[in-house]
């Protein structure tokens, strides 16, 4: 048995290294995105890259602090942390400051915090805690409902702040629940709903019905031709068809106009390069113009001259694409895949259910951000304003992702201590 004498013992250095590399690359790209010849000093606190340097420094301190605290603390404090965050999410609705249409910021002096960013961490903790409690079985309907409630509460509060993007992130917990035994059908249904939604918007509901019907018949003849299967397939087909019709209603009556336009632009049904489609269009131009090797550090014209809006936050991937080309985007995507797969690998090696579930929470949230953010910049998804973890400018999000990841790293290191 080794003597434990340092907080760095038993750390998963791969995850730590990936974190550092990504934050470092992120900062370089923020510098490039905001760069202008008059303000070259990297410590200029009036510019985003100067501020980000402060955020990175403080994140490293937070990471160290997390590693210092006993791993047990996180299992114990799951409920209080969750309670605190939910309280903050309620308070922000009352006392928050509205930024760009979302009332999701606390402002203290020049310091702004977005509690929604920490909701993801708290929810991961609480879901892990609840599901790892003795005698709680995920198979029970009650357990499932309570889990969904834990997830839905912050999501709804964030939705009330009018921050749809951040609320959608909570959908990522479907992966967590799937891993813990939720029927694959739910995940499938989730994917199917998205597919049907998009396809219906592209085509007419009548065509959609024909397609559904054809697929249903094919599936029936491909599988066992029993009455039971026939009934099941028929029900699914009818539900899908009904959904097709309801989609039109939802789009016309439930969605807000800007959301509708975003969806239409993404689907290519609406061409509006100077309006809502502007972001996506410019983003694609910027990334595409990078070519194979990119234009070189600080030589990106599209991002530097602000053709791409929000280029240091939500559209930071454009700077990568323009200045570093396909090589750059390849590296970033491979880094993310490596990080995500590593987290799942580490989660799976845990003996503690709590740590495993929490790990899946981390992976799911990071994956959702990664997938939606990049899909948005390359025109595969509507513009949903969520940041690219570790890359995008922003203190709250960087802090939140650091906490999310390092608590997991700490829990993983703690696993070894349990073995003593």
């Amino acid at each position: 048995m080794r003597q434990q004498n340092s907080i760095f013992d038993n750390l998963d250095w791969v995850l730590v290294a990936l974190f550092l590399v990504m934050v470092f690359l992120g900062w370089f790209n923020i510098y490039a995105a905001v760069y202008n010849e008059e303000h070259k000093s990297i410590f200029d606190l009036s510019e985003n890259y100067g501020k980000q340097l402060v955020w990175i420094g403080s994140s490293v301190l937070i990471a160290l602090f997390i590693l210092l605290i006993d791993g047990k603390f996180y299992t114990v404090s799951a409920y209080p942390v969750y309670g605190l965050v939910v309280l903050l999410l309620i308070l922000v609705l009352v006392f928050g400051r509205e930024v760009a249409g979302s009332k999701s910021w606390f402002e203290v002096g020049s310091f702004r915090v977005q509690p929604a960013e920490f909701g993801k961490f708290a929810t991961s903790l609480v879901v892990a805690k609840y599901l790892s409690t003795l005698n709680i079985k995920f198979e029970d309907l009650k357990t499932k409902l309570i889990t969904v409630l834990f997830i839905a509460a912050p999501a709804l509060l964030i939705l009330l702040q009018n921050d749809t993007g951040s609320a959608l992130v909570y959908g990522a917990f479907l992966f967590v629940m799937y891993r813990e035994g939720l029927s694959g059908n739910f995940l499938m249904a989730g994917v199917a709903i998205v597919v049907v939604f998009i396809v219906t918007l592209l085509f007419d509901p009548k065509i959609m019905m024909w397609i559904t019907g054809t697929i249903a018949v094919l599936v029936f003849f491909a599988g066992k031709r029993t009455w039971k299967n026939a009934l099941l397939i028929a029900v699914v087909a009818v539900v899908f068809s009904g959904m097709s019709y309801s989609v039109g209603y939802v789009v016309d009556n439930v969605l807000e106009k800007h959301q509708k336009t975003r969806i239409n632009v993404m689907l290519g049904k609406e061409d509006d390069p100077k309006g809502v489609g502007y972001n996506v269009n410019q983003s694609k131009i910027a990334i595409g113009s990078g070519g194979f090797t990119g234009k070189g550090f600080l030589n990106g014209t599209q991002t530097k001259y602000k053709f791409v809006p929000e280029q240091s936050t939500d559209f930071i991937f454009c700077t990568v694409g323009e200045e570093w080309g396909f090589l750059g985007t390849f590296v970033v995507i491979v880094l993310f895949l490596f990080l995500l797969v590593r987290i799942i690998y580490v989660a799976e090696r845990q003996k503690s259910t709590f740590t495993r579930i929490y790990g899946y929470g981390v992976a799911s949230i990071l994956f959702f951000h990664f997938a939606v953010n990049i899909a948005m910049t390359i025109g595969l998804a509507p513009v949903i304003g969520i940041p690219l973890p570790f890359f995008s400018y922003g203190g709250s999000s960087l802090w939140a992702f650091t906490i999310l990841l390092f608590v997991f790293i700490k829990l993983d290191a703690y696993r070894m201590q349990l073995l003593r």
Binding site: Y178, Q282, S289, Y305, L337, Y360, I378
Partner: protein, 616 residues
């Protein structure tokens, strides 16, 4: 440990890897395969800013400025950048109404909110100075320097021509011109456009999303500096041109003067004329339509475009051709009894001694003599047609019936009818020398321009050759076209000219232009009368001076003024005096000419048709 769902990690991992691969494929297409975004990126960020070169200046032969550029200012606006504008203050400064302001801004916004547009054109320097003080208050507005042509001596409008905006057709045909560019529309502005305009510069700037320039692209690697237009040195004598225009005031007609030893045009005046400054800038189109409507056609360049029968001046040509064809000799005499009569045709003549020899025929301009001589030319060959063709070939060698095709704006070719023309009218070999006898005295179907007559006397002064008359002697440091400095020989031998020149001297000494004799300057001239079926005949005088080593050859046309000796010859004599001595010793002649108002009454009595054949 719960291992029931452990294999689900594979599915979750699979979804992650699958997403990553989809992204990579998409990015590979977007970044490596598809080129369109590279183009869009360039369009986004690069702006080609045209830098206009200064248009070349035009000097006269003595270095006096005829055309220069004056700076003026366009007030430009970028609607997107207009902020917190005190509209009322702005409108008061510009002297426009608020409604007008709104209308203009609406129109400009339709064109573009981000690109600069002209709000107000061609502000004067004085107004610019005033505006400059206030401009800081009008965000989004700025001024752009441009230039306008300016004509300090206000002369030679027709030959200098004017500059105007290119039309759509021009921008389609020629890639150099973009809408809004200026181009020489007429005169030497048009003919020398390629030299005068210079080369536009191109500055490649990078702009940000708000169209604000952020610096030059790749340190100006792709920039092209504008090249100023070349200055032209004209052959015109500005002072002499101005004097000619002054003498021609209140008269319709034209004056052309050529330096025989070079073919350089010293004067190219037409009357009525106009101030070239009228066709500049904002006032151009309004003035142009006023000038176009004027009944005396001030826009019509009579010196190059009016085609008159040459009248008696053409006897000089027939004289030389007859000598060349050896149908007449210095001692040949013909008698004249108030005209020439043959085969029922009578060509009248005036009172003069008779009979006359060849030289005297020039001095007294005897119609009968030339009728005889001309018929001899045509009848000396196997057929009249053949004789006519020989005669016509000689005539064309003097530059008649064709364009000189140098740098003259819209000259006309005139008319020396071909043999086919008469064949067509009268039938092949159904016409005789008598049929076309009016050509003997420069009447009939002949059409010559004042320029061609001036060139004729220059040819006489040179004894047998001419340089194509032209307007520009130097383009920057370049020489003019070789064509301009190449001698064009007539088909007449040099030795035949002396007799004609001596005869022309006698015209001035003791002939039809005796009143315009100049003391100490022996010169040679010939009066003429161009028949005018619509009214009083046109007075013509051609001459060169001095007789030996001639410096100037002139043709003066004064419409509706009768015989050549009355007005045309005195005008020519004044110009000769001015050019050769730079002084005027006969103020009474000048006064007489300046006071003469020969503008015809608007309604010309068409019932009065001249039947009498004129001769001087």
């Amino acid at each position: 440990m719960d291992l029931r769902y452990s294999d689900r990690k594979l599915f979750v991992g699979g979804v992650i890897i699958f997403t990553g691969i989809i992204f990579l494929i998409r990015l590979f297409f977007l970044q490596v395969i598809d080129d369109t975004s590279k183009l869009s990126a360039e369009n986004n960020v690069l702006r080609h800013m045209t830098e206009y070169p200064a248009r070349g200046l035009v000097y006269d032969r003595k270095g006096k400025l005829l055309v220069y550029n004056e700076a003026y200012y366009d007030l430009m606006v970028i609607p997107k950048q207009v902020e917190k504008l005190d509209t009322l203050d702005f409108c008061t400064t510009l002297g426009i109404t608020v409604d007008d302001f709104r209308q203009r801004m609406e129109k400009i916004k339709v064109y573009s909110k981000f690109k600069p547009s002209v709000f107000e054109k061609q502000l004067s320097s004085e107004f610019y100075a005033l505006l400059q003080e206030k401009l800081y208050r009008y965000k989004g507005f700025f001024t752009q320097t441009r230039t306008l042509r300016k004509y300090p001596s206000r002369v030679a409008a027709h030959l200098l021509g004017y500059v105007g905006e290119v039309d759509d057709r021009m921008t389609k045909d020629n890639v150099y011109y973009k809408s809004g560019d200026y181009i020489g529309v007429s005169g030497i502005e048009k003919h020398y456009e390629e030299y005068l305009r210079g080369q536009k510069g191109d500055k490649v700037m990078m702009v940000d999303v708000k169209n604000v320039p952020k610096g030059s692209f790749k340190n100006g690697e792709y920039d092209k500096l504008p090249v100023s237009g070349l200055d032209l040195i004209s052959t015109i004598d500005g002072e002499l041109q101005a004097y000619a225009e002054r003498l021609m005031q209140n008269k319709i007609g034209s004056v052309v003067a050529i330096e025989p030893s070079t073919g350089e045009i010293l004067i190219l005046a037409t009357s009525p004329t106009y101030d070239p400054n009228l066709l500049v800038g904002r006032v151009r189109s309004a003035n142009y339509s006023l000038l176009a409507k004027d009944e005396f056609k001030p826009l019509f360049n009579r010196a190059l475009m009016a085609q008159y029968p040459p009248g008696s001046t053409f006897k000089l040509v027939n004289n030389l051709i007859a000598q060349q064809e050896k149908v007449v000799f210095p001692q040949t005499t013909y008698s004249c009894r108030m005209g020439y009569s043959a085969g029922g045709i009578h060509v009248g003549c005036h009172q003069h001694p008779s009979p006359l020899n060849l030289m005297q025929s020039v001095q007294h301009s005897c119609n009968a003599y030339y009728c005889n001589v001309y018929r001899n030319i045509l009848d000396s060959k196997k057929s009249v047609r053949e004789g006519y063709d020989v005669w016509r070939k000689h005539v064309l060698s003097f530059g008649f019936g064709k364009k000189f095709d140098t740098d003259l704006p819209s000259e006309l070719r005139g008319l020396i009818p071909s043999g086919d023309y008469y064949d067509k009218i009268y039938g092949k070999s159904h016409w005789k020398s008598l049929t076309v006898v009016s050509l003997a005295i420069g009447q009939g179907e002949l059409g010559t321009t004042p320029l061609q007559l001036a060139n004729l006397v220059a040819t006489l002064a040179n004894r047998g050759y001419y340089y194509p008359p032209h307007l520009i002697k130097k383009i920057g440091n370049k020489k003019i076209e070789d064509k301009f400095t190449t001698k064009n020989y007539t088909t007449i031998n040099k030795e035949y000219f002396q007799l004609v020149i001596d005869g022309m001297e006698q015209v001035v000494e003791a002939g039809t232009a005796a009143r315009s004799k100049l003391k100490g300057i022996p010169y040679c001239g010939k009066t003429g009368t161009a028949q005018n079926p619509h009214g009083e005949d046109h007075s013509v005088f051609v001459c060169f001076a001095p007789k030996d080593n001639p410096k100037i050859a002139l043709a003066v046309f004064v419409e509706n003024s009768g015989k050549g000796g009355t007005y045309a010859a005195p005008i020519a004599s004044l110009l000769i005096e001015k050019y050769l001595t730079d002084s005027l010793r006969r103020p009474f002649v000048e006064e007489f000419i300046l006071n003469a108002n020969l503008m015809p009454k608007p309604a010309i009595d068409k019932t009065v048709i001249k039947k009498e054949t004129p001769s001087d």
